[in-house]
């Protein structure tokens, strides 16, 4: 299979060169996915497919464009590549656009990242179904049950890439996800729901089906009796599963692209201590079995650990070749891999006990932030914190503020990073957050 993908990539590069491209970066993908969904003990959906595709980045006479196709029949593919080169030629010349410096392909890490698990290929349909039935049975053990839908999804993908200036690489990844959503009956019309999903590159890193089903039910049970909490400025504790969203909002504008376009609240604040010195953020592509782990990035640049925030200071940006040239910075990487967070010494329960009063956020609902100013406002669901305990559920509330001010008020990070995401966020604690509710 790998051979076939590599041949496809080599052929595509040659076709593009013959059509007049100066430089080409090509990738060919093949992936297989299987999904099973069970609702209330009955199979709801079975899905299985193999997918393929070819993508090209073309550099033609100082111009640049990207293309992808799933139509790999020889004649349409030739026409596609020819048209792609012709279309690129019709754009404007861009002096900042060059293919990656091949020096950045060097020193590629050779760590065994264990991104593919052969055990995932060996899962058969009966096993998936049995897991689903176990999850379903555990998820439905509640007198207020309305419905529970659980599922399992497996995938394996192989990607081969090469460039006209010497890049060559390939990777193979698997993943396994399992989980479900449970809906319970409330007094009145409301049907509160909760869900839990766990996923990993290796089968053995995912909790067993019974535990996953129980956790999905527990998430729904926690939503019973939710009310709107009062409007006030108070302490916010954010569960690991929800904390990643705040980190994404904070780091989204920490890129050469956002700097170059003057759309980043970090501009002019690099190296200054503008957020809490407790905040340590590292982009780490080399975590064994990490969901975001890789040996090279989307441009082919060799992977390395990249500190982003150290002691509350922005110390590095995500810099790709193109925007790096625009703001005169050396490329780091254009896209995040795994994000790790400097951890504290204790977990959620101990933190809640210590915080005493405030709100615990378990998930977000909508909301947005402005990358240029950092102003944000987000809907949330969670719990009141009263006398050091997680108290009644709340919903229909927002938090509003500015991201830099929010993170300046970060007082603690937990020891409990969320494992089922490339963003390994722990519990985060913020002081003086504006909540709006009743």
């Amino acid at each position: 299979m790998l051979r076939e993908l590599q041949r496809r990539v080599a052929d595509a590069i040659q076709m593009a060169r013959e059509a007049g491209a100066d430089d080409v970066f090509a990738s060919a993908t093949r992936s297989r996915g299987v999904e099973v969904e069970v609702r209330d003990g009955e199979v709801e959906k079975l899905q299985e497919s193999v997918s393929r595709g070819l993508s090209l980045r073309l550099y033609v006479d100082g111009r640049y464009a990207t293309y992808r196709t799933s139509d790999l029949r020889p004649a349409p593919l030739r026409a596609f590549v020819r048209d792609a080169v012709a279309m690129t030629r019709a754009l404007e010349r861009d002096p900042f656009r060059v293919i990656v410096d091949p020096a950045l392909y060097a020193d590629r890490p050779t760590d065994d990242l264990q991104l593919a698990d052969p055990a995932i290929d060996r899962i058969d349909g009966d096993t998936r179904l049995a897991w689903c039935m176990t999850m379903s049975e555990r998820a439905r053990r509640h007198e207020r049950l309305v419905s529970a839908t659980v599922g399992v999804s497996d995938s394996r993908s192989i990607v081969a890439s090469a460039s006209s200036n010497g890049f060559s690489g390939h990777h193979e990844r698997t993943s396994h996800w399992r989980g479900g959503s449970v809906t319970l009956r409330e007094d009145g019309d409301a049907r509160p729901a909760g869900s839990f999903w766990a996923g990993a590159r290796h089968l053995e890193d995912v909790p067993d089906a019974a535990a996953v089903g129980e956790r999905a039910l527990a998430e729904a049970t926690r939503r019973l009796g939710a009310v709107q909490g009062p409007t006030r400025r108070t302490t916010m504790v954010v569960e690991p599963r929800a904390a990643g969203r705040l980190l994404h909002a904070l780091l989204g504008p920490a890129s050469a692209g956002a700097f170059s376009q003057e759309r980043s609240f970090w501009r002019g604040r690099e190296g200054e201590r503008v957020v809490s010195e407790r905040l340590q953020l590292i982009d780490d592509p080399l975590i064994v079995r990490g969901l975001g782990s890789r040996h090279y990035d989307g441009e082919g640049i060799s992977a390395r650990r990249l500190p982003i925030v150290e002691g509350g200071r922005l110390v590095n940006l995500y810099v790709d070749t193109y925007y790096g040239r625009k703001i005169e910075r050396a490329p780091t990487t254009g896209g995040s891999s795994n994000l790790t967070v400097g951890l504290g010494a204790r977990g959620l329960d101990a933190i809640v006990a210590d915080v005493g009063e405030g709100y615990l956020v378990t998930s977000w609902l909508g909301g947005n932030s402005d990358a240029t100013t950092g102003d944000f406002s987000m809907g949330l669901r969670g719990h009141l914190i009263e006398r050091g305990q997680r108290a009644g559920a709340v919903q229909e509330m927002n938090i509003t503020g500015n991201l830099l001010e929010l993170f300046a008020g970060l007082t603690e990070t937990g020891d409990d990073p969320w494992p089922y995401s490339s963003t390994r966020a722990p519990t985060l604690v913020f002081e003086g957050v504006q909540f709006s509710g009743a």
Partner: protein, 516 residues
């Protein structure tokens, strides 16, 4: 797999997806439709696009229904899209995508077997059909001996020149003109991005009853982003226009309008502040505020959530849920609109579905599965992102009809509240019913007058409660011209939203400081 459904303004890169729409009763009843130009598929006009013949389709269908089926179809799709970006003074990048494949679905009761292949050979299609058929445990259904091909009853988005025949050289001047207008609009503008997207999707749906329908769906969108700088402070905002139209959509007037919107929405941010936090009356301006309908009621009325009993609206059909002047519709028939469809992705004709009739909840949005569960007609709402996904009930163009009040009356009635004008995104929890949307621009209302501009506040409420609190509806209903993309269970589809000016007597506003 989360039950939180999202709506966002102009998701970049999502423009190229498929679309559909339509209505009709499923099963035997859908054979009774308007007479249209029917041709036997002996002269299959689609061989050129998909490279398949009738024998191959018949072969795949008989494999697909070999263990029985209540509904089964092949969904062929050939799509292509182009996007172009203007940034820092030049058209600096483009991208193109071609997608080709077939999705095969076998439905038994409420159970779905699904597979797809990008390889349109007889062998690959039969293999995928076998995979999808494993959901069934019964005996074979007789595959159709011949196919009747029809054109959709109406073409709601015919365009003069299909996008596949429009060269990049015809698009660049439009992008450059929009950028030129934006750069000249205000001396404080420091950055202008213009992003262009055009797409077409050609679909052929062949079902187990021998019906074949073909639809060709164009789409285009222009997105203008502006960053301005005043005294060291920077502000960014955007506007976009989208439609199922061709190159002639982009008149000078249309470009001038979208640019002006982007510029005005940016400049006002320098003066804008946060409203107070907490509950207050919210006036929704006509047009894009239709996001309220999409989130507060639309998703909850999609019949898949209701047949599973997990929507807050599951037991509410027939109930009076709003004032008698509130009528809410989901309409696939609005010509050239982004959410318009000729047929849905199950091949049903598009229709106009009334969700709330003079305050009373009357109909869900159905696909084939739910219309069988409820024993009711389909509403032509079965949609999918592409051949890689099975269809489910989705919205098309969701709007509210005009009411008895005027915009001035509504604003004049508010002592202290806000007016919401532009939005970026929203989301809903189907079961608990809480929903949100994010206001980018608006105004404070004090003593019946618009006073200070406001920005960046999230609104949160509960669907049925909000419906009850719609206390005034104006006579100025209109559809938003911007391009909205709706996400549900991992599938994105283009939709439209609209509404007249409306007063919701109380909603929770994510402001700062206490409400007076």
């Amino acid at each position: 797999m989360s039950r939180r459904e999202i709506l966002r303004a102009g998701a970049v890169g999502a423009a190229a997806v498929t679309v559909p729409a339509a209505l009709s009763a499923c099963g035997g009843a859908s054979a009774v439709r308007r007479a249209t130009a029917e041709v036997t598929s002996a002269e299959n006009p689609f061989a050129a696009i998909f490279g398949v013949d009738e024998a191959q389709i018949r072969g795949a269908l008989s494999e697909l229904t070999a263990r029985g089926a209540d509904q089964a179809e092949l969904f062929f799709q050939a799509s292509r899209s182009t996007s172009i970006l203007y940034q820092d003074g030049i058209v600096s990048r483009a991208s193109g995508a071609v997608d080709l494949g077939v999705g095969l679905r076998c439905v038994v009761g409420e159970q779905t077997g699904y597979a797809y292949t990008e390889e349109l050979t007889a062998e690959a299609m039969r293999g995928a059909a076998r995979t999808a058929s494993t959901i069934a445990r019964g005996s074979a259904v007789v595959a159709p001996q011949r196919f009747v091909t029809r054109e959709p009853a109406q073409d709601r988005y015919a365009i003069e020149v299909p996008w596949r025949d429009v060269g990049v050289g015809d698009k660049l001047p439009i992008v450059q003109r929009a950028a030129e207008l934006a750069r000249a609009a205000d001396p404080s503008i420091v950055k202008v991005d213009v992003s262009w997207a055009d797409a077409e999707s050609r679909v052929l749906i062949a079902d187990m009853h021998g019906r074949m329908v073909f639809d060709e769906r164009p789409m285009t969108r222009l997105y203008v982003t502006v960053t301005a700088e005043r005294g060291g402070e920077r502000q960014t905002n955007r506007a976009n226009i989208a439609a199922r139209r061709g190159l002639d959509f982009y008149t000078e007037a249309a470009l001038a309008e979208v640019v002006q919107q982007a510029v005005d929405r940016t400049m006002i941010l320098f003066e804008a502040r946060r409203p107070p936090a907490g509950e207050m009356p919210v006036v929704l301006a006509a047009g894009a505020s239709g996001i309220l309908l999409h989130e507060a009621i639309g998703h909850g009325m999609e019949a898949d959530f209701n047949r599973k009993r997990i929507s807050i609206y599951a037991d509410m059909i027939g109930r009076q849920v709003a004032e008698p002047f509130v009528t809410i519709v989901d309409d696939g028939t609005l010509e050239h609109e982004r959410g318009a469809l000729n047929v849905d992705d199950e091949g049903q004709d598009a229709e106009r579905t009334v969700l709330v009739d003079r305050g009373r909840l009357v109909s869900y949005l159905h696909d084939g599965i739910s219309s069988r569960t409820y024993g009711t007609g389909a509403t032509g709402s079965g949609r999918r992102q592409s051949f890689r996904h099975p269809p489910m009930p989705r919205m098309r163009c969701t709007t509210m009809e005009n009411g008895p009040h005027t915009r001035d009356e509504i604003i004049g009635s508010v002592r202290r509240g806000i007016l919401a004008e532009t939005f970026t995104n929203g989301q809903v929890e189907i079961g608990a019913g809480d929903y949100t949307f994010y206001i980018k621009n608006g105004y404070l209302i004090e003593d019946g007058r618009l006073t200070a501009p406001i920005k960046d506040v999230n609104i949160i409420g509960t669907g049925p409660e909000t419906l009850r609190r719609i206390s005034m509806v104006a006579d100025d209903s209109r559809l938003d011209t911007g391009g909205w993309t709706c996400g549900k269970r991992g599938q994105s589809v283009p939709v439209s939203i609209g509404i007249p000016t409306v007063l919701v007597s109380q909603l929770t506003v994510g402001g700062e400081g206490d409400a007076a």
